[in-house]
C-alpha cells in the first residue's frame, strides 16, 4: 500500500531541524539551559514553523528557512576573526562594554565586560547558567516562553549562546552594554539562536544595544530572542541594529514585561537580510508604565522585512507610543503589523501608533495593519498608517533651488527617515545611524 506525503505541511528539512533540536535538548548543559532546551524541543515538535495560514504570518512565508539545512553554531568550534578592524566598523566609535558573538559563538578575547560599575552584571549566558542558576531559573523563558511560536521554540531548543545583563536596584548607568553579533565569510551555512536576558531592577536605568552585522555576503540564519524584565520604576533604552548580509535570514524577538512606573524605549533599525521578521512585544503590567517602540526599515532589491509589535495594556494609567517608518525600493516587500490590546482593567490608557511608508519604486510593496483591541471604556487610543510616494511639492522646492533631481530625491528620503532616528536617545548611536542612512541615500555622510 502506498501513501502520499504532503510535503507542504511538513517540509523535508523540518525533520532535520527537529532532529537537531532533539539532539541539542539531549546534550549535556547546566540545568537552566537544559530545561529550556527540553521545553523548546518539545514545543517545536508540536508547533513547527509558522505557515502563512496563521494570521500573524499571513504576509511572510518562511519556507525558504524551513527548506534550508544549517549547522548549529553551538555544534561548531569558534572561528577566529581575521582582523580586528572587521569589528571596529560596528562599534559606534565608542569603547562601551561589549560582548562579541562571532558566527554565533561567544568570543571572550574580543569582548570587554570586566570593568563594569558595581551593580551591573554582564556575562555570557553559559557562564550565567553556572554562576546565577537561581536568576536564570526564575527568568529564563518567563517573558518569552518556549511555546510562544515555532521560532521562539527553536531558539529555546538551542539555548546556550547569549548574554545576561542585570542592573541592580537604583543603579543608573548611561553607558550602553553592546551585544555584537558579527558574521564573517566563515559563518556561511550557520544558524545561531542567541538568547539574551536583560533584567533592570527597581528604579534602575540601563541601556543595551544589540547589533546584528556581517562582513560577507553569505547565507546564514539568525534566530534571536531577547527577554526583558523591567521592575517597578526601571527604565531601559534598547536599540536593535539589524544589518545582516543581504543573503541572510533573520528572526528577532524581543519580549518585555514591565512593572509599575517602568519605561521601555525600543528602537529597531533594519537594512539587512533577504528575509527578516522582527517581533517586539511588551506587557504593561503595572500602573503608570510607558512604552515607546520606534523603528526604521529601508529595503531594496528583493528583500522582505516584516515588523510586528504588540503592546498589552494590562494595568491602568499607562501610555504607549509607536512610530515605524519604512522606505521601500526595488521589488522589496515590507510588512508592518502593530497590535495594541487594552485589557478591561487598563483604564486611562493613552496609546498612539503610527506607521508611515514611502514607496520609492513601482514594484515595492507594503502590507500595513495597525490594530487596536480595546476592552476598557475610558481610554485614549489612536492609530494610523500612511503609504505614499515622494511629495512633489517638496521635490519641486529643492529643484527650484538648483538641486538636481537625484540629490533632491535622496535628501527627501533621508529627511523622511531622520524623523524616526531623531527619537534615539544615545547620541553616538543616533549619529551613526543617521550617517548610515545618509550614506545609503546620498553617498556622503554629512548634512551638517
Amino acid at each position: 500500500m502506498s501513501t502520499s506525503v504532503k510535503t507542504s505541511v511538513t517540509p523535508n528539512d523540518m525533520t532535520v531541524y527537529q532532529a537537531q533540536a532533539t539532539a541539542s535538548a539531549a546534550s549535556g548543559a547546566p540545568a537552566p539551559l537544559k530545561d529550556l532546551r527540553s521545553a523548546g524541543a518539545a514545543a517545536f515538535a508540536r508547533l513547527g514553523f509558522p505557515s502563512t495560514r496563521s494570521e500573524d504570518w499571513a504576509y511572510t512565508n518562511v519556507s525558504a528557512i524551513a527548506n534550508t539545512t544549517f549547522v548549529a553554531a553551538t555544534d561548531r568550534a569558534p572561528d577566529v576573526l581575521r582582523s580586528v578592524q572587521e569589528l571596529e566598523a560596528f562599534s559606534f566609535g565608542s569603547a562601551w562594554p561589549m560582548l562579541v558573538f562571532l558566527n554565533g559563538r561567544f568570543m571572550p578575547a574580543l569582548s570587554s565586560h570586566e570593568a563594569l560599575p558595581d551593580g551591573v552584571r554582564v556575562m555570557p549566558l553559559a557562564q550565567a547558567a553556572i554562576d546565577e542558576p537561581e536568576l536564570l531559573h526564575r527568568y529564563l523563558g518567563s517573558t518569552a516562553p518556549a511555546d510562544r511560536d515555532g521560532f521562539t521554540a527553536l531558539n529555546a531548543a538551542f539555548a546556550g549562546e547569549g548574554a545576561l545583563v542585570c542592573v541592580s536596584k537604583e543603579m543608573v548607568t548611561e553607558v550602553p552594554i553592546h551585544l555584537v553579533h558579527l558574521t564573517t565569510a566563515d559563518g556561511a551555512g550557520v544558524m545561531s539562536h542567541p538568547r539574551h536576558l536583560i533584567i533592570v531592577e527597581r528604579q534602575a536605568k540601563a541601556s543595551v544595544i544589540e547589533s546584528y552585522v556581517s562582513t560577507a555576503d553569505v547565507t546564514y540564519f539568525t534566530n534571536t530572542v531577547t527577554e526583558v524584565v523591567l521592575e517597578d520604576g526601571a527604565t531601559l533604552h534598547h536599540v536593535r541594529v539589524q544589518r545582516e548580509s543581504l543573503s541572510a535570514f533573520h528572526v528577532g524577538t524581543i519580549e518585555a514585561l514591565q512593572g509599575r512606573d517602568s519605561h521601555f524605549l525600543q528602537f529597531s533599525f533594519q537594512t539587512g537580510a533577504q528575509l527578516s521578521r522582527s517581533n517586539v512585544y511588551t506587557v504593561l503590567n503595572g500602573d503608570g508604565g510607558g512604552t515607546t517602540l520606534n523603528g526604521l526599515y529601508m529595503l531594496d532589491g528583493t528583500q522582505h522585512g516584516d515588523h510586528q509589535t504588540r503592546v498589552e495594556h494590562v494595568a491602568p494609567n499607562c501610555f504607549s507610543r509607536e512610530l515605524y517608518k519604512g522606505l521601500l525600493d526595488g521589488q522589496s516587500h515590507g510588512v508592518f503589523n502593530g497590535k495594541v490590546y487594552v485589557h478591561p482593567e487598563a483604564q486611562k490608557t493613552d496609546g498612539k501608533q503610527t506607521n508611515n511608508t514611502l514607496l520609492l519604486s513601482a514594484d515595492a510593496q507594503i502590507d500595513t495593519k495597525p490594530q487596536l483591541e480595546i476592552f476598557a471604556d475610558d481610554v485614549k487610543c489612536t492609530h494610523g498608517a500612511t503609504v505614499g510616494r515622494m511629495d512633489e511639492t517638496s521635490l519641486f522646492y529643492l529643484k527650484s533651488r538648483g538641486v538636481g533631481s537625484v540629490l533632491a530625491k535622496q535628501l527627501l528620503m533621508y529627511a523622511f527617515a531622520a524623523d524616526a532616528i531623531e527619537t534615539i536617545e544615545n547620541e553616538a548611536v543616533k549619529e551613526e545611524l543617521e550617517k548610515m542612512t545618509l550614506v545609503r541615500f546620498t553617498g556622503t555622510a554629512t548634512t551638517k
Partner: protein, 248 residues
C-alpha cells in the same frame, strides 16, 4: 531678459492662464497684482517649472533660451529664483547643508569650483545680516518650526546666497507683520542690481511701498487686464479690484 508670449497653462485640465504676454528687462521691478484666483501664483509656479502645471500654449524666452524646455533645477542654475508663498519644511536636513548643496550645484553648473563648509559659512554670515537672521538658524532643519516670518526671511536668505538674475516673489508679504515686512523688503532691495530683474506677485499694495515697482500689471481670469506704473497699485489699494475688472 524675460519675454512671455500668449502663455496658456492649466492644472488638472482646468485652464488657469489664458494668454499672458509680458516683457521684463534687466534692472526692472514688475508687480503682478490681482484678486484671489486670478492666476498670479500659477504664473510664478509656471515660470519656475512646477510639474503640476501644464503649459498648453504660448512661449517663454529667458536670456534668449526657451525657458519652458528647461527642468526646474536647470532654470535655477541659470538664475531663476522663486520665493515660495508656502516654503516647504524638510526635517533632518539642516539649512546650512541645503543651502550649500544648492549653492554648489549652481556653481557646478557654471563650471566653478565648489566651496567647502567653512568658506560657505563665511559667505552666509554676511547674507544673514541682510535679513536679520541669527547664525543658529543655519543648524536647524529647513523651515522646521520656523514662524511665518522666519520662513519668508529664510526664502530671501536663499535668494541672497544664490544671487538670481530673475527673482520671482510669490506673496512674500502674506502673513508678515510690519517689522518683518520691512526686513524682507530691505533684503530684496539690497539685492537689486542693474543686471537683474524682480517680479513681485502680491494681492496687496503694502509691499510695494518698500519694493517700488517700475510696472504694475493687474491679472484677472488668467490675463493681464491692465498695466501701469506704481500709481496703479495705489489706486487699486484705494478702490479695490472691481473697477478694473468691470472696465476689462
Amino acid at each position: 531678459m524675460l519675454v512671455i508670449r500668449d502663455l496658456h497653462a492649466s492644472v488638472g485640465g482646468t485652464p488657469i492662464l489664458n494668454g499672458i504676454s509680458l516683457t521684463v528687462n534687466a534692472g526692472e521691478v514688475h508687480a503682478i497684482m490681482g484678486p484671489n484666483g486670478s492666476g498670479k501664483s500659477t504664473l510664478a509656479q509656471v515660470l519656475a517649472g512646477h510639474p503640476a502645471y501644464e503649459v498648453t500654449g504660448g512661449e517663454v524666452w529667458y536670456q534668449g533660451e526657451n525657458l519652458l524646455e528647461m527642468a526646474p533645477e536647470a532654470r535655477a542654475q541659470q538664475g531663476v529664483f522663486l520665493a515660495f508663498q508656502y516654503p516647504v519644511e524638510i526635517p533632518g536636513v539642516t539649512n546650512a547643508y541645503f543651502l550649500r548643496a544648492a549653492y554648489n550645484e549652481i556653481r557646478r553648473a557654471k563650471g566653478v569650483d565648489e566651496v567647502d563648509p567653512m568658506e560657505f559659512l563665511d559667505l552666509v554670515e554676511e547674507k544673514l545680516k541682510l535679513v536679520d537672521m541669527d547664525v543658529s538658524m543655519m543648524n536647524r532643519s529647513v523651515n522646521m518650526g520656523f514662524s511665518g516670518g522666519e520662513k519668508k526671511r529664510n526664502e530671501i536668505l536663499q535668494m541672497a546666497v544664490l544671487e538670481p538674475t530673475l527673482a520671482i516673489l510669490d506673496e512674500t508679504d502674506s502673513g508678515l507683520d510690519i517689522d518683518a515686512l520691512r526686513i524682507v523688503a530691505g533684503g530684496v532691495n539690497a539685492l537689486r542690481k542693474p543686471t537683474n530683474a524682480t517680479i513681485v506677485v502680491t494681492h496687496y499694495q503694502r509691499l510695494l511701498n518698500y519694493v517700488v515697482p517700475d510696472y504694475v500689471h493687474v491679472l484677472a481670469g488668467g490675463r493681464i487686464v491692465k498695466s501701469g506704473d506704481k500709481s496703479l497699485a495705489l489706486e487699486l489699494e484705494a478702490r479695490g479690484y472691481d473697477w478694473v475688472l468691470e472696465a476689462a
